[in-house]
Each structure stands twice: as structure tokens, then as C-alpha cells.
């Protein structure tokens, strides 16, 4: 059992976490001149006059029909009575349905905010973030519904805008492909094809494929299969999970009763399982060969987040309303299928609230978990803790664990990742192919994106590759001399 009490205390305010080296987290004070570009510029949607108008969803034809009906015809009394009764009945039924699944009454924006992996999605500058699985480029979805693609090797940063690209909940790059980026939007899925060699900064909307299915909106989560052939998408309004063949734009709905929708998806790195959590206290683990599923009812709340170990054998997940991380182990026995799985989930970490004494006063860390991220070597696990936005001494914070998956699963404390004063972490992701250990990218409430490298030598990777590996563009926050000390890390790990 690993508790937050074993963690080193949080940094005093003003200090930010820079990197991990020699098995400890180094900190420093940031200076403003390091900043090249803040995304705060994009924080507000350009002043729109939308609010001044009423939204009309009916077509002209329908409106004229309604007008004629209401004016010209005198509706017989029995007709109005009976239709009123039917309407009331329908409302009763829908409210009953809504009481079963309270999330169905939310507006689509609120629903995305509720089920997103981003903390406070609705006012977050960076709404979604995705590293390319093979190269050093990433896509950032911003509050003004545009997506920017940053690539250190090219001078252009393409900006993707589309008429249907609204309320982006998630973005993900297609594996084994250089150009395809899937975007989960309010009404549809978009798959952009951004030519990496193109010099255009505004790819036309012709580069985007629109995938939509009636009743399947808003899309809150997407996941590509690691082999790059399929894309699954989920919507809390739709009980079916869609499996898309993107090239032919066809989809297979996988429908299961119960749960009232699908809110979060995660495909295991080996491609064998998909985690699909529902808005109610139930999640499913799909096996991707014949697409059958296992039901996992939770006791307290819905499954908020989950992540897979690199070999796909272990699933860590968190449940809303609980302060622990659970683990499920899947043994891959051929022939038996999924039935070889465990009978119950084991608690691997308890993140209940702990008080730390710092020079600035007591800080309470712990509580509910917003999201989990596991790096591709399986050695660092980052946990984004929600905190309490109204209490100053209970900030949202990222706790990082050291993990080991073989021969036995182990969890050791590593430390907290903190940003500059007043900045709260909103979103985090590990770089999928970082050569020197793990690289955690954190998006802050200030609109800043920082990369926190964890330098270590992975136990599973042959060590000779370090010197021969191509040198990566060094993150700005890292002093140059840390790379020389990596030998120590090797000895100590």
C-alpha cells in the first residue's frame, strides 16, 4: 500500500518542478523570459454575436407548417386534449429515464465537461492534447475550437479549423501513420489528414473526413487501435460504442444494454482490450478479437479514468467518489478468452487526503482523482488529483509514482509535479516515444504547456541505445548538464 504520506512534501510556492534526475525531482524558479508563446491568446472565443440571436432548429418548411396550423385551423378540443395527454406522458417517461440516468438531462457542453479527462474542461484554455505516437509533434485543441499542430522540425504550425469542429473533447493521432488526427467534436468525429511536408498553415476543411452517426453525439472519447486500423468512439448519450473503419467511413455499433452511454475509452497498448466506462456505476472491458465484453460493476460511482500497462496485462482505474486506484490483471490465456481475468479489482494505492507542512502553511493533498497516465515504459505513473478549487490550501496537483510491472507489480512514491504560482494542472500526457525515460507534458490553467522529463534508464530496454539514440530537442526548462548525470540514474535504479 502506498500512501501520499510517504511522498516528499510539495514545493514552496514559486518553485516549479523541472525534471527528475538521479531519482529525485529537481525544482527551480521559472523566469518569465523563457516563455516563447502563451496560448492565453486563444483563451477567449472571438467576440461573437451569437448570443443576440435565438437558435432555430426547425426548418423553414416546418415553421410555416406550424404557423399555418396554429393560425388557420381551429384545433378541435378533443385533439388538443389528447395530444396534451400524450405530451405529458412522454415527458413523464423521459423524466423517468432521466432519473435513471441523470447525465441525460445535461446539455452537451456540460456533458463533455463532466466526462472529460481534463480538469474543468469548460474554462480550460487547452481542451485536448495529443502527442504523435512516433515522432516529436503534438496537437493542441484550444478554447476557440481550433487545433494547432506543433512540430519542432518544421517552422509552420498548422491551424485546423472546421465548421463542425466545436467543443473538442479529445484528439488522438492515428498510430502507424504520419498524418491522420482524429478529433472528437460535439456533433461528429473529424479525421484530419495533415500532410507533414505541407507548408500550408491553414489546411482546408477538405482535408477532414467527417464521421457521424445519428444519435452518437456529443463524442467525449476516442481511441485508435494500436495497429492503426480501427477507431472507437463513445458518447454518453449513446449506449452503443462505435467501431469505425475510417478509410471506408463505415461503422459497426457495439450495443450493450445498461449504463446509459459510454463516457471514456482506452485501448490497451497491445491492442487486445478496450476499457469502456459508462456514466453509471459500471464499466466494461472489451476483448478486441471477437468483440465480447466483461461487465465490471463498481460499488460507488462511475469509472472516471483508467490506463493500461504497456504489455496490456494490467489495468489501473479510478472510481468517482473514491480516493483509491484499483488494478485489474488480465492473463492472456489463449482459447479461454477473457474468462481468465480476475474476479475482483485490487486496491493498489490509497490517495486519501494528507496534510503537509510547508513554509507557506499547511497544504492538504489528496482526494478524488481526475485522470491517470502511465508512460510507455511502464515505470512512471502520473495521477492528477482534483483538489478543491474553492479552498486555497487544497490545490489540484499531479502525483507521480514509480512503478514496476515485472516480476511483480510495485508502486513507489516519486514526488509531486507543480507549476508556477497560481497555475493549476488541467491535463497531462506522457510522450509515447521518449528515449531517455519518460516525458510528462502538463497543460496548466494559465494556458502554458510544460514538459517535465524523468530521466532514468528503463529496465526493459537495452542500455546501449542511450548514446546512439538521436538527440531530442531539449525542453527549455532543462539545464544542459543533466544529461551527463544519467549514469547515476542507471546505477541507482
Amino acid at each position: 500500500m502506498c500512501s501520499l504520506a510517504l511522498f516528499p512534501p510539495p514545493l514552496p510556492s514559486g518553485q516549479t518542478t523541472l525534471c527528475e534526475s538521479n531519482n529525485e525531482l529537481l525544482s527551480g524558479t521559472t523566469t518569465e523570459d523563457q516563455l516563447k508563446q502563451s496560448l492565453k491568446l486563444h483563451s477567449r472565443t472571438e467576440s461573437s454575436s451569437k448570443a443576440a440571436f435565438l437558435d432555430h432548429s426547425e426548418t423553414l418548411w416546418m415553421r410555416s407548417c406550424l404557423y399555418i396550423l396554429s393560425c388557420a385551423l381551429v384545433v378541435p378540443k378533443w385533439l388538443s386534449m389528447s395530444s396534451g395527454c400524450i405530451l405529458a406522458l412522454l415527458q413523464k417517461v423521459s423524466s423517468f429515464h432521466g432519473s435513471l440516468f441523470p447525465h441525460l438531462t445535461l446539455s452537451s457542453e456540460d456533458m463533455i465537461a463532466e466526462f472529460s479527462q481534463v480538469l474543468n474542461w469548460s474554462d480550460c484554455v487547452v481542451r485536448a492534447f495529443a502527442w504523435h505516437p512516433h515522432t516529436d509533434k503534438f496537437a493542441v485543441a484550444l478554447l476557440d475550437d481550433s487545433i494547432k499542430i506543433y512540430n519542432p522540425k518544421s517552422a509552420t504550425t498548422p491551424t485546423l479549423k472546421h465548421r463542425l469542429q466545436r467543443s473538442v473533447a479529445a484528439v488522438q493521432w492515428k498510430p502507424l501513420c504520419a498524418s491522420a488526427l482524429a478529433v472528437a467534436c460535439q456533433n461528429c468525429l473529424l479525421v484530419w489528414h495533415v500532410d507533414p511536408c505541407s507548408l500550408s498553415t491553414r489546411p482546408s476543411s477538405g482535408c477532414a473526413q467527417v464521421l457521424s452517426h445519428p444519435g452518437h453525439s456529443p463524442v467525449t472519447s476516442i481511441a485508435w487501435s494500436p495497429s492503426g486500423s480501427l477507431l472507437v468512439s463513445a458518447s454518453p448519450m449513446d449506449t452503443a460504442m462505435m467501431v469505425w473503419d475510417v478509410a471506408s467511413e463505415s461503422c459497426v455499433p457495439l450495443q450493450r444494454v445498461g449504463g446509459g452511454g459510454v463516457s471514456f475509452l482506452s485501448w490497451s497498448p497491445d491492442g487486445s482490450h478496450v476499457l469502456a466506462s459508462t456514466p453509471s456505476a459500471l464499466f466494461r472491458v472489451w476483448e478486441t478479437r471477437m468483440w465480447t465484453c466483461e461487465r465490471w460493476p463498481c460499488v460507488k460511482g462511475r469509472c472516471q479514468s483508467g490506463c493500461w500497462s504497456p504489455d496490456g496485462s494490467r489495468l489501473l482505474f479510478t472510481v468517482q467518489g473514491e480516493m483509491v486506484i484499483y488494478a485489474l490483471t488480465f492473463t492472456d490465456t489463449p482459447g479461454v478468452g477473457l474468462c481468465g481475468g480476475p474476479q475482483a479489482a485490487a486496491v493498489v494505492a490509497d490517495l486519501s487526503e494528507t496534510t503537509f507542512n510547508t513554509p507557506d502553511g499547511d497544504i492538504i493533498v489528496g482526494g478524488e482523482i481526475q485522470s491517470l497516465a502511465w508512460d510507455s515504459t511502464g515505470e512512471r505513473l502520473a495521477v492528477l488529483l482534483k483538489g478543491d478549487p474553492h479552498a486555497a490550501d487544497r490545490p489540484a496537483i499531479i502525483a507521480v509514482f514509480k512503478t514496476r510491472t515485472s516480476p511483480i507489480f510495485e508502486l513507489l512514491p516519486c514526488g509531486f509535479v507543480q507549476g508556477e504560482r497560481g497555475a493549476e494542472p488541467r491535463l497531462m500526457q506522457f510522450h509515447p516515444s521518449f528515449q531517455h525515460g519518460a516525458l510528462l507534458t502538463v497543460c496548466w490553467s494559465s494556458g502554458r504547456i510544460t514538459h517535465v522529463p524523468f530521466y532514468f534508464l528503463s529496465a526493459g530496454v537495452p542500455h546501449c541505445g542511450l548514446s546512439g539514440s538521436p538527440s531530442l530537442p531539449r525542453p527549455q526548462t532543462v539545464p544542459a548538464d543533466f544529461a551527463n548525470q544519467s549514469l547515476f540514474t542507471e546505477l541507482m535504479s
Binding site: T135, C177, A178, S229, V246, A247, S250, L254, R289
Partner: protein, 671 residues
């Protein structure tokens, strides 16, 4: 229909049983569907209890049992037709006339006739089950001239139901051709049969209901205008009379009977639903994964091994299922992959891997050549137009309607005689070939399709009087400037390589005789005359992107071949103990890169990259329309799969500089 000796063991042992199982399930499902029909057909809002009791008594009656047996026979027949007519490679009509040819093919005519008869049988059963005024064809009515004696009159309600059944059956069969309903597509997502059926059921219900609605609408229109013909015919042959006191149904007032329309719709929906269910079950059963043994321990089973089966050309379903199995085993099962990589016991040869990789590579090379040939005809055509000396104009009409017409108008006597690939020449001659659609599908088999074949046919053409008119210096100089080195060196206008096709141009002008000139002029006049007729143009114009679709019609096989190869190569990085894959790696990579280049070129053609309209409301499978996009995506993914697995090790592979450059693009993730 087929003799047992000729058919493959696979069709006999697997496909027939699968078809039988699917039909059996469809027959079992007939009971509940008929019960639903009875309830829906007899339902009356104001007497619910009475309806239920009536339905129960009807379901146990002898007539209901008899009609159920009849319906079972119909389902068996439909199941048999499904088995006879299914295909895994869709036939794509490239022009309206080709579609017409498909519809009028004798085989198709038989199909339509059988469906028509089946429709009548189903409609008769519906009439029995719905009962009431629909039940019998004749009834006694008082004579019109006021006599007290009675006579048999025609029950028009019964007749209209039967005719509706025939009409819906016919339209089912015809729409089946148009929407390629007999094409069986394989799903990328594997699911158990029950779950797949459950998932397909809502779509089947929706499709049946909407299609029934449209069919009934069309039928009512037809009956309104032409209804008197069958009515008179029935009266005459069966010696029935028309009751003049009853309002005739082929009038506006008669057809506005809502209950009649409802019953027509219900019975049409029932008919389509049972048939669609049979079709869906057949598709699900046939496309189910079949696991072939990679290696067999007994020699008598050797012909069932994956490597043997892959190399067989016929039947196509066997090849497709084998490739599907290959793609899945390479992805999911390490133990079977291990068998692929294993060496033969005496001798130590990787026979399994060699056979599999050879077959996959030959399929991919075949596709590459097809694409090159197609691109060649299109590209040379474009150039020829600008030089006004072209010989093959077969695709000029395809690029755009306007350019096609303009082409036809312009007098071009030298080339019009030399267009056997042109649809006009064939239609004028009017000799329909045995596969009726052959002239209209992209004529890859025509002598003008590929430069290599063109050379072969050259000696024959030399004998013809107007040979020299085509062999202008422009045509000679225009070699296929493509990347395939073999054709390049040969055709590039070098006289040594193709001596037959190099007559000296000086002696040519005297050759064309007067008769030939006359014939030529005649033909052109006919053509110009025809080209001005809108209907002819409508029929003969190539449908956009159809030729592109036809080119990739069987690409599902190539997709699996690519997946299978790339997954095997990926797995070989860690699993291949003897290095059997390494030897083939250069050829695999170069094959994929050449194909990639060919596909890229193809997508630059007009209409190739335009997305087809998605049709969601029909039972026809439109997967074939997007196969080229799927192939392009799979190809890229396959190359990336190999490059990400091997990384910089690929630099050690022997490869041409051009391919290395392209591979470097993949290694840097810039494709």
C-alpha cells in the same frame, strides 16, 4: 446445378453447409415473423381482445399451416438463389448500358422470374393470413343484368395483392443488381454470429419497411395506369366476371383506400423482411472466419493447408477466407505464426512462408501492374489528345461528359477505325459477347490496355489495311514513361526490341484502300449521328469513378495480403528463429513501395479520390465503393508497421536508391 466432382472440397464441405444452416435459421424465424404479420394484418384498434382470439384461431387453422409450408419452400428457394448468385467480387457497371446489360443477362432474367413467382406465392400466403376481403380470387355476385341467378366475379382485392407481390419480387431482384445485393463483404470487426445478427436486425427492419413503401408507391402508380390489362386477362382466362356494382380499384378513389394501402404495405414489408433476413443470415454465415491449418500432419489433408489454399484461383470465396485467416493469424496467434516461420523437417526449407509470401507478393504485383496499365491508358490518352494522334480514346469519355462529346464530334478519321476499346465501335457492330458486361467494364483485357499486350498484338494489326495510320511517329515516341523498368526499356521506341511494330512510315499513305475509306466515313457518320442523341449519350457515358471502383473491386484480398505480410514481418523481428523472413524482406518492401507509388498516382486521377455518396438506407453493401481508400490506408499502415519495427536496421537492406529515398520518408514519418 453443379456436379459434385467439379466443385472444390471447400464448397462442398463448408460453404454448402453454411448456406444450409443460414437457410434453416431463416426458416425457423419464419414462424415468429408470420405471427407478427397476422397480428399486424388483422389488428383493429377497437376490438383488441377479438383480434387476439381471431389471430390465435387462425394460426392453428389448416390454411395457416399450409401457407407456412409454402413460405418455407419460398425461403428455401431464396436461400438456394443466394448461394447460386453470391459473389465476393462485385461486378461494377461502368456505364448505364452496362448496367442494362447486367439486368438483361439471361442468368439475371431467370433470377428475376423466380423472384417474381416467389413474390406471388408470398402474396398469396399474405392474402390467406390477412383474410377478410382478400381471401379468394373469385366470389359469387348477383348478375349484372338483374337476374336472380349468381355468377363468379373477380375479387380485385385479391388480384391487387398478388400483383403487388409479383411487382415487389421483381423490384427486389432488379434493385439487387443495381445495389450489388449479391456482393458479400467481409467485416473488419469480427463478431459472433448471434451478435452480428442482432446488430443487423434494426437495419433490416428499417430497410424492409422503407423499401416496401417505395415499391408499393411505384406499384400503385403502375396499377393505376396498367391495371386493366391483368384484370381483363384474369377475367378472360378464368372465366370470371367483373362486378359492376363494386368500384374498380384502378381509379383514384379505389386506390385511396387507406386500409388497402396499409395491407399492401404490410405484405410487401413481410415479403422483403423474410428475404432480407435470409440474405443477412447467409452473409453472416458465409463470411464467418474459417481456420485453415498452417501445416497438416497427414498427407491427405495437405490440400487443405493455408499455403495450398492460398494458391488456388477458384473458388474465390475460398481464397478470400484463406486470406482473412492469414490476416488474423498473423495478428493474433503466435503459435500459428510460429508454424509459418518453421522449417520443413527433412531439408530445412521454409515452405510455408515461401508459399504464403510468394502468393501475397504476386497478388500485390498483379494489382500494381493493373494500376500501371490503367494509368498508362489514361495518361497516354491525355497526351494523345493534345497531339491529336492518339489511338486509345477509351477513357476520354470517362473523364468528362463534355470532352467526350466534343471528341466524338471532331472528325478524326485516322483513329476512329482503331478504337476497338471504344464502346461505340462495339455497339455499332452489335456483337454482344458472352459475358455481356465485358466490353463495358474497364477493358484491361483489351489489347490496348497494357503496352506489353499491345506489342503482342502488333503483328496481327500490321496485316490490316489501315495499320499505318496509327503508327504515327508520335505514337511510337510515346513510350510508357513509367517506372516499371521492364516495359520502359522495351517500348521506348527502340526498333530492336519490337521489330514487328516498326514499318517504315513512308509507304503507309498509299495503303488505305477506297473501300476502307468509305467504311470509315460511314462509321463516323453513324457515330456522329448517335452522339447527337441524348439518350445514347446517357447510356454510353461512363459513370464517374466507376472504372476506379472496378479496378479495386477485389481489393479486399489485397488488403488482407498486405495486413498478413506486414504483421508476419513485424512478428518476425522477435519470433523468426531461422531468419526465413529476412531473405524476403527486400522484395516485400520494394513490392509495397512500388504499389504505393502506383496507388498514389492513381489517386491523382480525376474522380479517383472523390468520395462516393454513402447510402445508408439500403440492404446493398456499398463497401466496394470505398475499397480503394481502405487499400490506400492499409498500404501506408503496412509500410509504417515494417519501418517502425525494424527502424534503422532497414538501412542494411539492399535496395534501389529510389526506394531507399522513399523508405527514408517513411522512417522520418513524412509520408
Amino acid at each position: 446445378m453443379f456436379s459434385t466432382e467439379q466443385t472444390c472440397w471447400f464448397v462442398r464441405k463448408v460453404i454448402c453447409w453454411r448456406a444450409a444452416a443460414s437457410t434453416a435459421w431463416a426458416v425457423l424465424l419464419l414462424g415468429p415473423i408470420t405471427a407478427a404479420l397476422v397480428i399486424l394484418g388483422r389488428f383493429s384498434l377497437f376490438h383488441p381482445i377479438q383480434t387476439i382470439s381471431e389471430c390465435l384461431s387462425l394460426l392453428t387453422s389448416a390454411s395457416a399451416v399450409f401457407s407456412l409450408i409454402l413460405l418455407c419452400g419460398v425461403i428455401l428457394m431464396i436461400g438456394f438463389l443466394n448461394l447460386e448468385y453470391y459473389t465476393v467480387i462485385p461486378t461494377i457497371a461502368c456505364s448505364k448500358i452496362a448496367l442494362l446489360g447486367q439486368l438483361l443477362h439471361p442468368r439475371q432474367l431467370v433470377n428475376s422470374a423466380v423472384h417474381c413467382v416467389m413474390g406471388i406465392v408470398v402474396a398469396w400466403c399474405c392474402a390467406i393470413t390477412i383474410g377478410g376481403r382478400y381471401e379468394t380470387l373469385g366470389y359469387t355476385c348477383p348478375q349484372s343484368d338483374g337476374d336472380s341467378s349468381s355468377q363468379m366475379c373477380l375479387n380485385e382485392y385479391h388480384l391487387i395483392l398478388l400483383l403487388a407481390g409479383a411487382f415487389v419480387g421483381l423490384s427486389y431482384s432488379l434493385l439487387g443488381v443495381i445495389h450489388n445485393m449479391n456482393y458479400i463483404s467481409f467485416h473488419t470487426v469480427q463478431q459472433y454470429k448471434y451478435l452480428r445478427f442482432k446488430g443487423a436486425l434494426p437495419l433490416v427492419v428499417k430497410c424492409s419497411a422503407t423499401q416496401a413503401l417505395y415499391s408499393i408507391r411505384n406499384f400503385i402508380v403502375v396499377y393505376f395506369f396498367l391495371g386493366y390489362i391483368p384484370k381483363a386477362w384474369f377475367c378472360k382466362t378464368l372465366n370470371l366476371y367483373l362486378n359492376s356494382s363494386v368500384h374498380p380499384l384502378d381509379s383514384i378513389a379505389g386506390l385511396l383506400d387507406l386500409s388497402l394501402v396499409y395491407h399492401l404495405w404490410i405484405s410487401a414489408s413481410f415479403l422483403l423482411f423474410t428475404w432480407h433476413i435470409t440474405l443477412v443470415l447467409f452473409r453472416i454465415f458465409v463470411t464467418e472466419l474459417y481456420s485453415f491449418p498452417v501445416q497438416s500432419s497427414f498427407t491427405e489433408d495437405a490440400h487443405q493447408c493455408l499455403a495450398k489454399v492460398l494458391n488456388e484461383k477458384q473458388p474465390m470465396i475460398l481464397k478470400f477466407l484463406a486470406l482473412q485467416d492469414l490476416a488474423l493469424l498473423s495478428q493474433h496467434s503466435p503459435s500459428r505464426r510460429c508454424q509459418v516461420f518453421s522449417l520443413s523437417q527433412p531439408g530445412g526449407h521454409p515452405h510455408n512462408w515461401n508459399a504464403i509470401s510468394k502468393e501475397c507478393l504476386s497478388m500485390l504485383t498483379d494489382l500494381t501492374q493493373r494500376l500501371v496499365a490503367y494509368h498508362d491508358t489514361v495518361a497516354t490518352n491525355g497526351r494523345a489528345k493534345s497531339l491529336s494522334t492518339g489511338s486509345e480514346r477509351k477513357t476520354s469519355s470517362e473523364t468528362s461528359v463534355t470532352s467526350g462529346t466534343e471528341d466524338l464530334m471532331s472528325p478524326r478519321p485516322t483513329l476512329l477505325m482503331k478504337t476497338p476499346a471504344s464502346v461505340f465501335a462495339r455497339s455499332v457492330v452489335g456483337t454482344p459477347r458472352t459475358p455481356l458486361t465485358a466490353p463495358f467494364t474497364p477493358d484491361l483485357d483489351s489489347p490496348f490496355a497494357s503496352p506489353a499486350l499491345r506489342r503482342l498484338t502488333a503483328p496481327v494489326e500490321q496485316c490490316s489495311p489501315w495499320f499505318g495510320t496509327v503508327q504515327s511517329p508520335h505514337v511510337m515516341r510515346r513510350g510508357p514513361k513509367l517506372w516499371s523498368t521492364s516495359t520502359d526499356s522495351q517500348v521506348n521506341g527502340s526498333p530492336q526490341s519490337s521489330p514487328a511494330s516498326v514499318p517504315s512510315p513512308k509507304q503507309e499513305p498509299s495503303k488505305p484502300s477506297l473501300l476502307a475509306q468509305f467504311l470509315q466515313n460511314r462509321k463516323e457518320q453513324v457515330k456522329n449521328f448517335l452522339a447527337k442523341r441524348v439518350l445514347i449519350m446517357y447510356l454510353f457515358n461512363k459513370l464517374p469513378e466507376a472504372s476506379s471502383q472496378a479496378l479495386f473491386a477485389d481489393s479486399q484480398a489485397h488488403i488482407w495480403a498486405l495486413e498478413g505480410l506486414s504483421y508476419l514481418v513485424q512478428a518476425s523481428f522477435s519470433e523468426d528463429q531461422f531468419g526465413v523472413v529476412q531473405t524476403a524482406l527486400p522484395s516485400i518492401l520494394s513490392c509495397m513501395l512500388v504499389l504505393q507509388e502506383a496507388v498514389d498516382r492513381h489517386f491523382k486521377l480525376p474522380h479517383a479520390s472523390s468520395k462516393p455518396v454513402r447510402s445508408t438506407g439500403s440492404m446493398g453493401d456499398s463497401t466496394h465503393k470505398t475499397l480503394r481508400f481502405a487499400l490506400r490506408a492499409t498500404l501506408k499502415t503496412a509500410i509504417y508497421r515494417i519501418t517502425t519495427t525494424f527502424g534503422d536496421h532497414l538501412n542494411a537492406i539492399q535496395m534501389s536508391a529510389e526506394h531507399r529515398k522513399r523508405l527514408q520518408q517513411f522512417l522520418e514519418y513524412k509520408e
